[in-house]
């Protein structure tokens, strides 16, 4: 009998003794507790491409700028959907910012990772710069630390903070120091100088964004900042190869969201395939802009076969107008319109974060204000058009013809002879008519053709309804 007592006590003590290994048992064997910065930077870039170049791009930005058409849903109808907006918010902070934030937190103290931490910071600033243009005041300084209530930073302060931070970051990069591997840095393949230029060009973009008159900007501060950047102009983006434009992949988990929606899931999405909006075509066609053939494909069927034919933003409308005229859009399907250009529908299309083209037009705008620059506004303007044509594989001869078109040619007016209706203004945002000597509008219009528009709305707009449309200026294909 005694043996049983002993057995019992033994098992009792055994079971108690085991708690020593408990911590070891509770170590997660499935996931690492630390990873190298390479893996995290890639995540952040990839997530940013999918956020800005994904659903948000299709249903919000390009819908609101009337570049695309063909949607169903609340956002798409200029309404608001909490769940969708939360999704964007989530991607911004958790998907895009947190991975680079982890690089900063984990490697800040380690000098061997100095440049990589700096680049992570530059990239985080880029994400914040987009967030502030979309939502206005957003959490910045106290974000990302797991706290359930996060204070928001004032919109103005975010701009000043970003500008100061980026200056510091750009100047701290040690060009002979550590770098990301070629394959991990999907934007610049680890090139440190390009990151430095990226940071400075982003500064230029932000400075120009606050260049409007108060209360929508602070021209004095902007001027100072621009002059500072121009003093170091060689460290901004100056050539095509410095365009920050990673490409998506060709496998189902990495291909472009637009390809996934329009091409891969064509049959499922047949009724809502985004096609080119008629506004875009009406803006570009009068100038015979060769880029139209890049942005749009001729209609493959329907009444406007083989022509550039855009869908109207009201998705068809009634079959007859009051005057008895037949609505040309009645009964048409998405397939009857111009598809988005093949370049943008590739699975491994590129996504442009900041382009050489944009850098040129930003400088043109700054130079026009008389804030400096090594070239004249006109030179920057033409350089921008050339850069855009070059980007899309068009010849310099084509660019030359375009640059000589009335309205496009520096300080010239649009040739409206016999076609004034084509330049009819629409709420002061849609007309592409250029008056003689309106250089500012010429620059802005080129921003639009390179997939930006109405950037004149500038920073910290007080009306929320304009918030999203402001963003469009800064986020492009």
């Amino acid at each position: 009998m005694k043996i049983k007592y002993i057995l019992f006590l033994l098992s009792l003590s055994l079971s108690m003794g085991c708690t020593k290994d408990f911590e070891e048992i509770n170590q997660n064997p499935n996931n690492p507790t630390q990873v190298e910065p390479d893996f995290l930077l890639t995540t952040s870039i990839f997530q940013a491409m999918n956020l800005y170049g994904g659903d948000m791009n299709r249903v919000v930005f390009f819908n609101y700028t009337q570049h695309f058409s063909g949607f169903q849903g609340e956002f798409q109808r200029y309404s608001f959907n909490n769940a969708t907006n939360s999704g964007y918010w989530k991607s911004t902070y958790i998907g895009c910012m947190q991975p680079v934030n982890q690089i900063i937190l984990n490697f800040k103290a380690n000098s061997a990772y100095k440049n990589r931490v700096l680049i992570a910071q530059i990239w985080k600033d880029y994400i914040i710069s987009n967030a502030v243009s979309i939502w206005g005041a957003v959490p910045t300084t106290e974000a990302l630390n797991g706290s359930p209530s996060v204070p928001f930073t004032k919109e103005e302060d975010i701009y000043y903070n970003l500008l100061a931070d980026l200056k510091q970051l750009a100047s701290s990069i040690d060009l002979s120091g550590d770098k990301y591997s070629v394959v991990a840095d999907k934007i610049y393949g680890g090139d440190l100088l390009k990151w430095k230029k990226f940071a400075n060009t982003l500064r230029l973009r932000l400075a120009m964004r606050i260049s409007n008159a108060a209360p929508n900007g602070n021209p004095e501060a902007a001027k100072k900042l621009v002059q500072e950047i121009f003093a170091n102009e060689q460290n901004t983006i100056t050539v095509q190869a410095e365009t920050a434009a990673p490409v998506w992949g060709t496998s189902s988990d990495t291909w472009s969201p637009l390809y996934n929606y329009v091409v891969y899931n064509y049959t499922a999405n047949k009724a809502t395939i985004p096609v080119v909006n008629e506004s875009l075509i009406y803006h570009m066609a009068p100038y015979n802009d060769a880029r139209l053939a890049i942005y749009a494909q001729p209609a493959k069927q329907g009444p406007q076969l083989n022509k550039f034919f855009g869908q109207n933003i009201s998705y068809g409308g009634g079959s007859q107008y009051a005057s008895g005229q037949v609505n040309p859009h009645t009964g048409l399907k998405q397939d009857d319109y111009s598809y988005i250009g093949a370049r943008f529908l590739k699975p491994d299309a590129e996504y442009v974060f900041i382009s050489y083209t944009e850098a040129c037009f930003l400088k043109a705008e700054a130079s026009l204000k008389g804030w400096g620059g090594s070239k004249s506004a006109e030179q920057y303007y033409y350089e921008g058009i050339d850069a855009s044509y070059n980007r899309y594989g068009l010849t310099s001869a084509q660019a030359a013809i375009y640059k000589n078109t009335p309205g496009v040619k520096w300080s010239s007016a649009s040739d409206t002879t016999g076609r004034s209706s084509q330049f009819k203004d629409w709420l002061q945002i849609c007309s592409s008519y250029i008056a003689a000597g309106d250089n500012y509008k010429q620059i802005i219009m080129q921003h639009g053709y390179t997939r930006t528009r109405r950037r004149c709305l500038g920073a910290y707009q007080k009306e929320q309804s304009f918030r999203i449309s402001t963003t469009i200026c800064y986020i492009r294909w």
């Binding site: 079971s15 408990f22 630390q34 959490p139 706290s147 988990d253 009724a271």
Partner: protein, 1048 residues
């Protein structure tokens, strides 16, 4: 008069040498399962009357010195028929006692499988009537509990192979598990829900069924429900939500006997939505638009429409979804014809034999199941069970049981709003579609054809998305009992559960929703082991009985979940993971957890009427940080049998009040969490253009987690009247879980989706009533009835600071189910209808309802639940009926929403013809319509009654979620069984001992409900905590069965 139908007695008398004796001893056991009966009074009767007496100990043993002139021994025990034995010179007298009636159980199985007299228990308990379990089987054993037990709420599985939910006395945990622990023959088993990955929108994941769903009803002897911490505290952490104890059958220990049972049940949809048959496919009463007349003949092509908002169905020529010309006519039965009658066949054989000390029982059951949708949920199950009792020596015996279950399901149904769920597709099928138009579902190139825009072809869904899974499950339980001496006993238990789940899902190339196809395989395995050693001590000092035990145990669980998926197939139809156009995604998750415990209990009884129970347990869990990983929790309870306490008074009232007991108990149960919730980790998410990328877990882990605690206080009264013919029991309880381990959703600006906290409190208070009795009992006719009622009020008292609500479920982000401070658990929020001060509904100037977002629209939990069961026996016939009631609570019907928005149901006819007349025939402008759809009971904001007619197609229904919320109350005839025992005289000739034939029905009649026609208020998109949402569920169905049982 008092003939008891359920009585059978077996006495074993072991003759011994005849000699002069002074002492007699023996064992008293329970006739139903041969287990020893403790606490039986053994009285010696001499010529002059009753003399000395003794009680049996926990092993059912007694021993007493015989006085001179002793003649008989009377064995008495409440609820058992007294047995009188002539001593006749024997020194060993073993007795088997039988119950007086099946209504009144006096011995109950309590935590850790310990049998105790019910009179000594300090908490309410209820066992389930399992008599109809095999005759009217449900496809998931959990569903069979519905309506039978007070306070137990069931959400039945949505399909025959899906997961069911069971909650006892409300939800205790904000974000954790709220389902009770299942214990089979003393061994806790895993009951993980199989639909954890299935979302409301219906993604590509399947519901694999909850683990205990596969338990074979044929093997079940008894189901005892321990409702909450008071009864289940000794099971520790995992029993905070109560426990369901299942005891399986043993050999009767009599002689060789074989039982054969054959059961066939048939399932049919019994209630369809009322579809409208006046308007067909189209939009805004028209058949043109969106390219529908893009053909030279300008004949409308219906393929571009997916809703029934077209023109009146008058036989116009149209092009149908399959490209053929047809007349535009209603197809009233197009949904009905899609469903078939499903058959479920269960055949089982059981043999048992041996003697009282060494015996065996073996059973085998084969189950084949189908579905009301042809081609899906084809299930095959084999259950084999062996149970052996060995008595090695006088003091040592071993009870062993091994169960093996093989469960294979082919083509599980995709759930909820999945485009692969044909049930969902059919809920809104266009009214002029003929099923034959969909029959050809793919073209010569293997691509899906014959669809209406996003209405995909249901036959493609059924035929081109094969899946299959096989689960092998092994359960073993070994109980070694050693008798150390008269008052000390030692038990060692070892229980193990293992399962292996292997399966694949395949989605063929060519579908509209996923042109390249996809495939995934999964291999999960799970193993849990419980080992316990317990020492029991039972003493009797005068009128005091002290039963104590002290035990130590360890629980270890290990699981591994692996899956491989490919998002692109090379060759259509080849079901093999190597058929991959790109690199496979592989996931592996292994986890391990250990809980070590010591526990003990003392129960002190005084003179069989006053009892005090104390229990304590301490757990050490590997999932908590080392500083907080041990937690102690006690319970205290008492009961007082007042009818026995005041003997003089007792004798006078006993003819009326035969038994009365007051009881009270307070218990605390601690709980831990899942493994790996303390330290942050990263995961590798894939490879993007040659570079692997990683992300931090979006859950903020808490390195300082503490165990959570559920405290429960309950008290009650048990009364029995008229010689126990009527019994009544009432219980009140108040339970609160504090320090909850909550995974709270936090703002994404924090960089995380959710964070672990030790916070929050949910309170559950309620009342349970049980009334049962045998109103009529004659030689040939018996009527017994039982009713139960339970009301639970839950209240979320607090959550994390700064977090006011926790989302439990959502319907596309617009309709949400929350645990919210100050509200009952499972509050449903969505857009409500704006009302004025007088509560009148308001419409805008357009006549459309004004929606107010984020309104409380209802609660997912019921006000009360109840059941009423009756059984009648007349000669060889018997009839049993169970009525199941749920009052209150709400649910959101996504199916109703979808079928309304699609214009498919007759509710959409309101004002439709009128609108057509005024708008299209008379050509009235939208602003000045004189007819159409109108919200008659609504008012404009200025207080004038609404007089604006609108289009029924755009009447704002979709913007007001309130219009899709329904009362979830129901009264259902849950079960009806009529049986006939063939007369013995007839059976003798064919050497059959017993034969019984019965007809059964489940869910035969929905006596009352408020949900729309064709929608079952019991439907739910999940078996998880986020109840209150229905989407794409099967319409109400009934099951009819035929059962034959033969014993040889």
């Amino acid at each position: 008069m008092k003939i008891n139908f359920y009585l059978f007695i077996l006495c074993c008398v072991l003759p011994t040498f005849l000699r002069a004796q002074t002492r007699v001893s023996g064992t008293v056991s329970d006739g139903t399962d041969r287990s020893p009966l403790p606490g039986v009074t053994v009285t010696v009767v001499t010529k002059i009357g009753p003399s000395t007496s003794a009680y049996t100990n926990t092993d059912g043993k007694y021993s007493l010195v015989l006085p001179i002139g002793a003649e008989d021994l009377i064995f008495s025990y409440t609820g058992m028929k007294a047995v009188t034995e002539k001593i006749g010179g024997r020194i060993r007298i073993d007795v088997v006692m039988a119950g007086e009636s099946n209504q009144l159980q006096t011995v109950a199985i309590t935590a850790l499988g310990i049998k105790r007299e019910t009179r000594s228990l300090s908490y309410s308990r209820q066992s389930m009537d399992v008599s109809t379990l095999t005759q009217a089987p449900s496809t998931n054993i959990v569903s069979s509990l519905s309506g039978r037990i007070a306070g137990v709420q069931i959400t039945p599985s949505s399909t025959n192979t899906g997961s069911a939910r069971v909650v006892i006395r409300g939800n205790n945990s904000i974000s954790g598990n709220n389902q009770p622990l299942f214990v089979i023959d003393g061994i806790p088993v895993d009951n993980e829900a199989g639909d954890g990955k299935v979302t409301t929108s219906g993604n590509t994941n399947l519901d694999y069924g909850n683990v205990v769903g596969n338990i074979n009803p044929e093997d079940i002897e008894n189901i005892e429900v321990l409702k909450g911490p008071n009864a289940a505290a000794l099971y520790g952490s995992r029993a905070a939500n109560g426990a369901i104890l299942i005891t399986t059958k043993k050999s009767s220990g009599k002689k060789f006997q074989a039982t054969f049972n054959s059961n066939s049940t048939f399932q049919r949809i019994t209630e369809f939505p009322n579809y409208q048959d006046q308007f067909g496919a189209g939009n805004s009463f028209k058949l043109d638009g969106s390219g529908s007349t893009n053909n030279p003949q300008k004949i409308p092509n219906l393929g571009v429409f997916n809703r029934s908002w077209g023109a009146p169905l008058l036989g116009q020529p149209v092009i149908s979804v399959n490209g053929q010309f047809k007349d535009y006519l209603a197809q009233p039965d197009n949904v009905k014809d899609f469903y078939q009658t499903a058959a479920m066949l269960t055949n089982s054989i059981a043999v048992d034999g041996g003697n009282l000390e060494n015996n065996y029982r073996f059973s085998y059951t084969n189950y084949q199941g189908g579905s009301v949708v042809a081609g899906i949920n084809k299930a095959t199950r084999h259950n084999a069970n062996i149970r052996v009792l060995n008595k090695f020596t006088k003091w040592l015996d071993l009870d062993s049981k091994v169960t093996f279950i093989n469960n294979k399901v082919v083509n599980r149904q995709y759930m909820n709003g999945s485009t692969r769920n044909p049930v969902y597709q059919y809920a809104y099928m266009v009214r002029d579609d003929k099923l034959s138009e969909f029959e050809i579902y793919k073209d010569a190139y293997g691509n899906e054809v014959n669809t209406h825009t996003d209405f995909l072809n249901p036959y493609w869904a059924i035929n081109e998305n094969p899946n299959q899974d096989v689960k092998n499950q092994l359960l073993g339980a070994f109980n070694l009992n050693a008798k150390i001496n008269d008052w000390l006993k030692f038990t060692a238990k070892l229980g193990t559960e293992m399962y292996w789940l292997n399966g694949y899902t395949f989605n063929n190339k060519g579908s509209k929703s996923s042109p390249n196809g996809s495939m995934a395989t999964l291999n999960n395995n799970f193993q849990s082991t419980n080992a316990d050693a317990v020492v029991f001590a039972n003493n009797k000092i005068g009128k005091l009985t002290i039963n104590s035990f002290l035990g130590a145990g360890t629980f270890r669980t290990k699981s591994e979940k692996n899956d491989q998926s490919i998002a692109s197939l090379i060759q259509a139809g080849l079901v093999n993971i190597s058929n991959s156009g790109e690199a496979a995604t592989v996931n592996q998750f292994s986890s391990k957890k250990i809980i070590n415990s010591i526990y003990g209990s003392t129960s002190i009884g005084y003179d069989n009427y006053l009892y005090l129970d104390l229990t304590a347990r301490n757990d050490w869990s590997s999932t908590l940080p080392s500083a907080n990983n041990f937690y102690f929790y006690p319970s205290i309870g008492g009961s007082f049998v007042f009818t026995d306490a005041f003997k003089n008074l007792g004798e006078r009232v006993k003819p009326i009040l035969s038994f009365g007991k007051l009881r009270m108990s307070y218990a605390v149960v601690g709980n831990d969490t899942s493994p790996y919730q303390l330290t942050p980790t990263y995961s590798f998410d894939g490879i993007y253009n040659g570079q692997a990328y990683a992300s931090l877990s979006s859950t903020f882990f808490n390195p300082d987690l503490k165990p959570e605690k559920t405290g429960s206080f309950e008290y009650g009264l048990d009364l029995r009247f008229l010689k126990d013919r009527i019994s009544f029991s009432v219980t009140r309880y108040n339970a609160a879980t504090t320090n909850q381990i909550v995974l709270a959703q936090i703002t994404p600006a924090s960089g995380y989706n959710a964070r672990y906290y030790n916070a929050g409190e949910i309170q559950n208070r309620g009342t349970e009533l049980i009334l049962s009795g045998t109103p009529i009992k004659t030689n040939s006719f018996t009527w017994s009835a039982s009713a139960n009622f339970a009301k639970n009020n839950s209240l979320v008292k607090s959550l994390v600071d700064g977090v006011n609500s926790f989302q439990l479920n959502s319907w596309f982000g617009r309709l949400l189910v929350f645990a919210e401070v100050g509200q009952p658990y499972g509050v449903i929020r969505g857009a409500g209808w704006k009302r004025d001060d007088q509560g009148r509904k308001l419409v805008a100037a357009t006549g459309l309802p004004i929606a107010v977002p984020n309104q409380v629209l209802g609660t997912a939990t019921p006000d009360w639940t109840g059941g009423f069961s009756n059984s009648f026996r007349y000669k060889n016939f018997n009839l049993s009926l169970l009525v199941d009631v749920r009052k209150g609570g709400s649910f959101y019907s996504g199916t109703y929403r979808r079928s309304y928005i699609s214009g498919a149901i007759d509710d959409t006819l309101e004002g439709r013809a009128d609108y057509y007349l005024h708008s299209y025939i008379y050509g009235e402008a939208a602003a000045n319509l004189a007819g159409g759809f109108i919200y008659r009971d609504a008012y404009f904001e200025d207080g004038t009654p609404n007089n604006k007619y609108v289009s029924p197609q755009s009447n704002g229904f979709a913007n007001v979620d309130e219009m899709q919320i329904f009362d979830a109350s129901y009264v259902k005839l849950r079960e009806a069984v009529i049986g006939y025992d063939l007369p013995a005289s007839l059976l003798k000739r064919v050497k059959i001992a017993n034969a019984r034939i019965s007809l059964s029905g489940r869910n035969l009649w929905t006596i009352y409900k408020k949900a729309p026609k064709g929608i079952d208020p019991e439907s739910s998109v999940t078996s998880g905590n986020g109840q209150g949402i229905e989407y794409g569920s099967l319409p109400p169905f009934s099951t009819y069965g035929l059962d034959l049982r033969l014993t040889f």
